[in-house]
């Protein structure tokens, strides 16, 4: 990727001392991360390392047990914050797509902007059609999610998130539930987004994608950040034993 000089850009997400427990189990132990505007960060690591939980803390789908998460200047660990307002600006794409099965593709995309009164029905529809075109699904506007393939569903889910014009996009293993031949079409959409300057945090097992698109790779294990750096630093010159052994297994 071209040099974006990211450190000069404003900080979009700042996480300090984040802790998260599920009952007795501490899945995140003192996470500290800063993400700058336009940065693409890929989270990699073995399953159970806390990557997805970390991501879900960023839009408060999981509530942090300690530490501070500041998104766009809003401290979302503060009880008084209107989390719905903050979430409007953070898109999230799920492993299992989670398209609304009772709504058509078009209505999946227009629901939130219309319900939250950000757009009129007509505006939302126009925007939805543009987005569907962008992800190559303009002919699917009036079908229901169950009629789409996995790859199409995920592209639609991305379009749904983009309809809110978020500044930040979170991707939680977006290609893990896909048949291999459909992974590429979803990654292509994500690559295009990255190129457009979207701030993205991606939990992924697609090392090729991480290497090509990420500005920074964070390797997590056991609820900690073990190592982070540019794709070159992580994939070619990893320093930590655990990073090297993980990469040996997956590459």
């Amino acid at each position: 990727m071209e040099n974006k000089n990211l450190s000069e850009k404003p900080v979009k997400i700042s996480v300090k001392g984040l802790r998260k427990c599920f009952g007795e189990l501490e899945v995140l132990k003192d996470m500290n991360v800063e993400v700058h505007e336009g940065e693409v960060v890929c989270l990699i690591g073995p399953s159970g390392s806390g990557k997805s939980t970390f991501l879900r803390c960023l839009n408060k789908l999981e509530e942090a047990n300690g530490g501070e998460i500041i998104v766009d200047g809003n401290n979302i660990t503060d009880k008084k914050i209107n989390i719905n307002k903050v979430r409007e600006n953070i898109g999230m794409v799920f492993q299992h797509f989670n398209l609304f099965s009772n709504l058509s593709i078009l209505n999946n995309i227009t629901l939130a902007p219309v319900e939250l009164k950000l757009m009129s029905k007509d505006e939302a529809k126009k925007k939805a059609m543009e987005l569907l075109k962008r992800v190559g699904l303009e002919d699917k506007a009036n079908v229901f999610p169950r009629q789409l393939s996995g790859g199409q569903k995920q592209r639609c889910a991305i379009a749904r998130s983009l309809a809110m014009s978020p500044d930040i996009m979170l991707f939680d293993e977006p290609t893990s539930a896909l048949d291999p031949e459909m992974v590429g079409e979803v990654l292509d959409v994500m690559k295009a987004l990255a190129k457009d300057g979207m701030t993205m945090i991606v939990v992924t097992h697609e090392m090729g994608f991480a290497r090509e698109v990420a500005d920074r790779i964070i390797f997590m294990d056991g609820g900690y950040i073990v190592e982070e750096g540019t794709p070159d630093e992580i994939f070619n010159h990893a320093k930590e034993e655990r990073t090297i052994s993980f990469l040996n297994k997956v590459l």
């Binding site: 719905n84 299992h96 989670n98 609304f100 009772n102």
Partner: protein
């Protein structure tokens, strides 16, 4: 044949009684559906106190017979509230009391149906809606409940049929619905017990069958659109 003669001769009184039964059922089922949605939502809410209220309500209703509930509401409540000037007469008499009892009863079962329906919807649907910035209430209304409805439909219809037949128990407080009408007719013609009660049974059978048929059609239509 005696049965045919009974059916024809009692036609007018049974039509009036049938209308009472159907009125009682419709009023109660509408109220029960509203109660069911409210208390079903209470049960799945993360608010402890609402969860408790709902669990206590459902527990009491499921743990006591409808007949006893009816007595408590019609006789018990009237006696307790008499010092404050309350009488069932003022608000429609036994019919209202019966409707209240039946609504509360069916409402508890409906709440359980609604809870089950909501819990059957994949949690990812709620998460996706919330992640877009929709409030819990909006996500429930626009995404979760419509999906839960399809799952709930057979159970709701089943409850409708049960409650329709339960109106029979309400006869005890003196509403002249189908069963009460049967009792009165038998009291005046004790030798005709069998044909009269068969006639009553036929009326119930007809309305329940019609209701299940309608339900089947609705269910098919709805699942088609799904």
């Amino acid at each position: 044949m005696v049965l045919l003669e009974v059916i024809t001769s009692s036609f007018n009184t049974f039509m009036a009684a049938l209308s009472e039964t159907v009125k009682l059922a419709i009023v109660s089922l509408i109220a029960a559906t509203i109660l069911g949605v409210i208390f079903g939502l209470f049960t799945v809410s993360k608010v402890r106190i609402l969860e408790w209220i709902s669990k206590i309500y459902i527990g009491i209703i499921r743990g006591t017979p409808l007949l006893v509930q009816t007595f408590i509401i019609y006789y018990g409540l009237a006696q307790t509230l008499r010092p404050y000037g309350f009488q069932w007469k003022q608000i429609g008499g036994p019919f209202t009391a019966g409707a209240v009892a039946l609504s509360l009863n069916a409402g508890a079962y409906m709440a359980e149906i609604v809870r089950g329906g909501i819990e059957s919807v994949d949690i990812g649907q709620m998460e996706a809606a919330r992640s877009l910035g929709l409030s819990y209430g909006k996500a429930m209304r626009k995404i979760v409940l419509p999906q839960a409805f399809f799952t709930m439909l057979p159970a709701i219809i089943n409850q409708f049929i049960i409650s329709l037949k339960d109106t029979s128990l309400i006869s005890i407080i003196g509403i002249r619905e189908l069963t009460q009408n049967g009792k009165i007719l038998v009291a005046n013609a004790t030798a005709r017990s069998m044909p009269i009660w068969l006639t009553v049974a036929i009326y119930y059978l007809v309305i329940c069958t019609v209701l299940s048929k309608i339900a089947q059609i609705v269910e098919r239509k709805v699942s088609h659109g799904k």
